[in-house]
């Protein structure tokens, strides 16, 4: 029953999307508004239809309907209820359905909020959004159907007797409940983590969110309305997509840190990189769109960036879901690879063709020219160059080099994490310097002397900061320089906020807290942006500390023995074996962490034995200063071996991420205007 309901709802959503495309395009051709309204209603129908389909799958997961082969694949009778729910995105088929649901929610939001203001763009905007949705619905219905069920073909030979099919095959019977429960495979243990509960939805929201600016940009190109209207309509949607993508990346890093057991959070894995690429283009767009709004410049460039962001999302989706790329993050090899590649190519080519058509017509000419190298717009362009250079370098290392070498040399050539770091470190240094300089430059241009004057105090404070770090024991020149560059960007951001607060206090007589709150309320974008910058600088400090100064050692300890690592001491206290309620066997070591002779924590690193594989769960004592992170390698009550990491400042990566999200939320929050 649930399978039939899900299938019917999915089919209805696809029909609604296809009808919306046809009706809106007809309206664009004839100008008949009722067809546009009809198309809009059909587009809005996709959301409840997909809620119904997803709801049916969730109910099937929660009520253990193992005849559905997806439920059979991702859960078993021992799976706890929370993970039964998150199993919705635990494998390809469920996550594709969930992806479509999120996309339809975004689309309905965009139609609902922009229907009045951007009606002229809707005859093209709705078909583009619906085409993207229809593509993913087709994947769900025809290739990766989450409502397929196991059937036994009575007349077939034994080895072909069991099939998975969405429709009931002739002369087929369902397997017995006992067989289904006994054979259910259960969730991949790597996914049983809190980070995995929220990391994929956030990443999907970020990915699908970029469909909205792309659709509005293409609608502007198709309709010929190339004023700033499409930018106004989509600016906030871009920020929302960027916010979720940032959150998804941060949570993914946290999951890797907690679950993959190597003491790191970013490994330059191709799938990680594929998710990072749209973030880079999106960041470039968020900056350059300001130049179009304020100066009427970079119209062509902004269009290119929106197209590139969507294209990067589609490519990243292909990289993750096709299974052609070797990564711990990728899905299993799937038939969706070729259709996704074809869809990515088709949408990108369509967008570029439309762009070339309008560009030749002269509709994307800038209203002004760059007047000075030392203007805010020039520095923003430089910022864009850096983000695009990062994009090119990471794309080249992850995909470009392996693919071209395979094509032209017949052998695949790859690069490792060290080479990625070689590419990106100078670019990130340049990014942090620009993050400090650009906010101080004026629109239109300013003299070098004036800019130098404005930079004097931040540079002085940075020098003092670096001196303090050096005296405090940061003896590595590279680290001191790295901290210096990041500190400079942070100081400029803080100075700008303090200047704003001081101005309000001076002119309005407000107290500092009120002035601070009002400052963010009155100019959300600007000060939200500064907060994002501060978040990025905090992340930068965390990355430098945890990368350059990480300590990694391995020790085998007898029970009661203590080992000293820097100013910590670790005492092996006990070892127990226990069985969890979901059936896994746990090997748990108890350790006491001492610092300067005082007990600071008791940690319990463990190994969980799942039927599929063992999972090492780290025990950690976390402070803002560092993480004392311990993995149990093997052991018994008498002796055990531990891998011990001291990761300085690593928690700043997560706290900086939080600041970044908060700043983006402030910048994206709708402004309340009083009548």
């Amino acid at each position: 029953m649930l399978a039939e309901l899900g299938l019917a709802a999915l089919t209805l959503a696809l029909a609604g999307a296809l009808y919306a495309i046809a009706a809106c395009l007809y309206s664009a051709r004839t100008g008949e508004r009722r067809w546009l309204q009809s198309g809009r209603n059909a587009a809005l129908l996709t959301c409840p239809a997909l809620l119904l389909a997803t709801g049916a799958l969730v109910v099937a997961l929660l009520t253990e309907q193992y005849q559905l082969s997806y439920v059979y694949q991702v859960t078993d009778p021992g799976t706890p209820p929370l993970y039964r729910f998150t199993a919705l995105w635990g494998a390809q088929r469920g996550s594709l359905l969930f992806w479509s649901l999120l996309m339809s929610c975004f689309i309905c939001g965009a139609i609902g909020l922009n229907w009045r203001g951007e009606r002229r763009l809707m005859p093209f905007c709705i078909p583009i959004m619906m085409a993207s949705l229809a593509f993913f619905l087709c994947l769900s219905l025809f290739i990766e159907n989450p409502f397929e069920r196991w059937w036994i073909l009575v007349d077939a030979p034994v080895e072909q007797q069991v099939v998975s099919s969405a429709l009931i095959p002739p002369r087929a019977v369902p397997p017995t409940e006992a067989n289904l429960r006994a054979g259910a495979e259960g969730m991949n243990p790597l996914l049983r983590h809190f980070g995995m509960v929220i990391h994929p939805p956030m990443l999907y929201l970020g990915f699908v969110g970029f469909t909205i600016p792309f659709a509005f940009a293409l609608a502007a190109l198709a309709s010929g309305d190339l004023s700033n209207s499409w930018i106004r309509a989509t600016r906030r949607w871009t920020l929302i997509a960027w916010l979720f993508l940032s959150l998804g990346l941060i949570l993914g890093g946290r999951w890797a840190y907690d679950v993959l057991g190597w003491g790191g959070y970013w490994g330059w894995d191709p799938v990680e990189n594929a998710a990072f690429l749209p973030w880079l283009v999106g960041t470039a767009f968020i900056h350059s769109v300001m130049i179009q709004e304020k100066r009427g410049m970079l119209k062509l460039w902004n269009m290119l960036l929106v197209i590139a962001a969507f294209s990067a999302v589609m490519f990243g989706t292909f990289a993750t879901r096709s299974g052609v790329i070797d990564s711990v993050h990728s899905f299993a090899r799937s038939e969706v690879g070729f259709p996704m590649l074809a869809f990515w190519a088709a949408m990108t080519l369509l967008a570029l063709a439309l762009l070339a058509w309008r560009w030749r017509g002269g509709a994307l000419r800038d209203e002004r020219q760059f007047a000075s190298l030392l203007s805010r717009e020039s520095l923003f362009v430089l910022n864009n160059v850096i983000f695009i250079a990062l994009f090119v370098a990471i794309f080249w290392g992850s995909f470009g080099l392996p693919i071209t070498s395979e094509l032209f040399l017949g052998k695949e050539i790859t690069i490792g994490a060290q080479t990625f770091e070689f590419y990106v470190v100078p670019l990130f240094v340049a990014m942090y310097i620009l993050m400090g300089v650009a906010p101080l430059a004026a629109w239109g241009g300013m003299t070098a002397a004036r800019l130098g004057g404005m930079l004097r105090i931040p540079l002085l404070l940075t020098a003092l900061g670096v001196l303090g770090l050096t005296i405090g024991g940061t003896d590595l020149l590279v680290a001191a320089l790295g901290y210096g560059v990041v500190l400079f960007a942070a100081i400029v951001g803080l100075c700008e906020i303090m200047r704003g607060v001081a101005a309000r206090r001076r002119t309005l007589g407000e107290n500092p807290l009120r002035a601070f709150v009002a400052l963010f309320g009155r100019n959300q974008r600007r000060y939200g942006g500064y907060m994002v910058h501060l978040g990025v600088t905090v992340i930068g400090i965390g990355v430098i500390g945890s990368t350059i100064f990480q300590t990694e050692v391995q020790h085998t300890l007898d029970r009661g023995e203590t080992v000293v690592i820097q100013d910590y001491a670790l005492q092996y206290e006990d070892f127990v074996r226990a069985q969890a309620v979901d059936g896994r066997l746990m090997h748990i070591a108890s350790l006491v962490v001492l610092r300067h002779g005082d007990e600071v924590a008791r940690i319990r690193p463990r190994i969980d034995e799942y039927p599929q594989l063992p999972m090492s769960i780290a025990g950690a004592h976390s402070t803002l200063e560092n993480d004392f992170y311990v993995l149990l390698i093997r052991g018994d009550r008498q002796r055990a071996t531990f891998r011990i990491y001291i990761n300085p400042l690593v928690n700043l990566v997560w706290w900086g991420g939080l600041l970044l999200i908060l700043g983006t939320a402030i910048a994206a929050y709708p402004k309340v205007t009083r009548a």
Partner: protein
């Protein structure tokens, strides 16, 4: 009475031209720097991604940093936890295959398939290092006949691939 003045800029064309030169120079410098970064990084860090058979057959590969993929033989896995050294063997799998799980299974079932001994020093034993996992290793085949790996990536496709129809379900219920 206020005076209205209009000052003609000095040599406006010259100024515009010099600004254009500035922009072009800055652009060229940036582009050349980026190209240098990409090319020099690639030349330093590039390594071939080849099969076990290719590594063993071609002496030119000895001592060079390579990326190799193979099937892990579970019985050969040995972990020296005192010294944090992992030793295991990988078996040749072809560079092209339709079904990775099947390719890994077939490779380990072939007694004549080329095998290579791996050593990974100063490493925790990864959870995914198991029989029939795909190991993707970066390192070099040294004179001692061991492949000294500095990076180890593992995939266990047989455990997480879309489930093929389980034959155990095929016991037809009696009531039908």
């Amino acid at each position: 009475m206020s005076q209205v003045g209009w000052e003609k800029p000095k040599h406006p064309l010259k100024r515009k031209r010099s600004q254009r030169v500035q922009f072009i120079t800055a652009g060229v410098v940036i582009l050349v720097s980026l190209l240098y970064l990409l090319v020099s990084g690639t030349l330093q860090g590039a390594r071939y991604f080849i099969t076990v058979a290719e590594v063993l057959d071609d002496p030119a590969h000895r001592g060079r940093t390579l990326r190799v993929s193979g099937a892990v033989d579970g019985e050969s896995i040995d972990y020296d936890s005192e010294n944090a050294i992992i030793r295991f063997e990988i078996v040749h799998i072809p560079s092209q295959y339709d079904d990775l799980a099947q390719a890994l299974h077939d490779a380990l079932g072939d007694a004549n398939a080329p095998r290579m001994k791996i050593i990974v020093e100063d490493a925790a034993i990864p959870d995914l290092l198991q029989h029939e996992a795909q190991a993707i290793l970066t390192g070099a085949l040294e004179r001692d006949g061991l492949f000294h790996a500095t990076e180890l990536l593992l995939k266990c496709p047989s455990r997480f691939e879309e489930s093929s129809p389980p034959e155990a379900l095929g016991q037809i219920p009696e009531h039908n």
